[in-house]
């Protein structure tokens, strides 16, 4: 996990208020918050959130000195039907919260300066059949666009 990954994780994990991401997802079988980088734990159960960085485009000056990074994150909420809430509804609530959370957040990245962070566009909503548990898992999420300067001011 690089410093930007750590900043994104902290932002998600700290959103513990009612309706917040960490509040909605709860903890998995190991007692870990269900916010994962890349892939969910095998002990995870929806709802959970996955984030990862599909693309990083370094921005160069003359001499190929890196000035900043144009980084995209995918942040997805996954949810299944429960007796009290439908999966699409919970996934939608997560996506709504992610949109608010990633718009100009206080994102701390060690050794770098975050110039901008904003939701760029939604990810394609999906529904996957969970064969093991005989249920559909629904997902909604965002592509988040960040610009990170390579040094602190």
């Amino acid at each position: 996990m690089n410093t930007l990954d750590a900043g994104v994780y902290s932002l998600l994990a700290a959103d513990t208020a009612s309706g917040g991401v960490a509040n909605i997802v709860g903890t998995d079988g190991d007692g870990v918050k269900q916010i994962y980088q890349g892939k969910a734990s095998q002990k995870a159960s929806p709802p959970y959130v996955i984030f990862w960085q599909p693309n990083d485009f370094p921005q160069y000056a003359f001499g190929n000195t890196v000035q900043s990074d144009h980084v995209f994150y995918a942040v997805q909420g996954f949810a299944a039907d429960t007796p009290t809430a439908s999966g699409p509804s919970t996934a939608g609530s997560l996506a709504d919260r992610l949109r608010v959370l990633f718009l100009n957040p206080t994102l701390t990245v060690t050794g770098k300066t975050v110039l901008s962070c904003r939701p760029l566009q939604t990810l394609n909503p999906s529904e996957d059949w969970d064969d093991t548990n005989g249920r559909w898992v629904y997902s909604r999420g965002w592509i988040v666009e960040t610009w990170v300067a390579s040094s602190t001011p």
Binding site: P54, N55, F57, H70, L123, N124, S126, D128, D130
Partner: protein, 131 residues
Amino acid sequence: MGVVLVDRKDKIIAELKLQLAMGLNAAAIEWVSGAKAKANVDTGFMKEHIGITKSASSADLSAEIRSLAPYSGPQDTGIHGNLFWTSTYLEIRERFSQFLYGKAGSAGPGVIRAAQQDFHGPLGSSKGGKP
């Protein structure tokens, strides 16, 4: 001494359209190549069925790329998805202006040629019309 101004905008527009069509098709080829490289492979059906389903031309400045396997969506954003399509889209988006206008954001040689013909006209350099 005299100058003849000739309206050649129709030729310039035609060359611009051709340049844009070539740029769109280059972007489409790159998209297909990138998505194939990242696609999850089990039987290989999905990877083999990512392709350009419509190429751009001067008359129709749009291209279409499709992943025809019906499970392509979940393979992109589902629980086992790897964003093969989304991340390729982001790469192409980042470089899209380069595909269309070239690295320097300039017109292509065909457009420049058409514009130069406009500038020089019948008294231009090709007929020894320099002062």
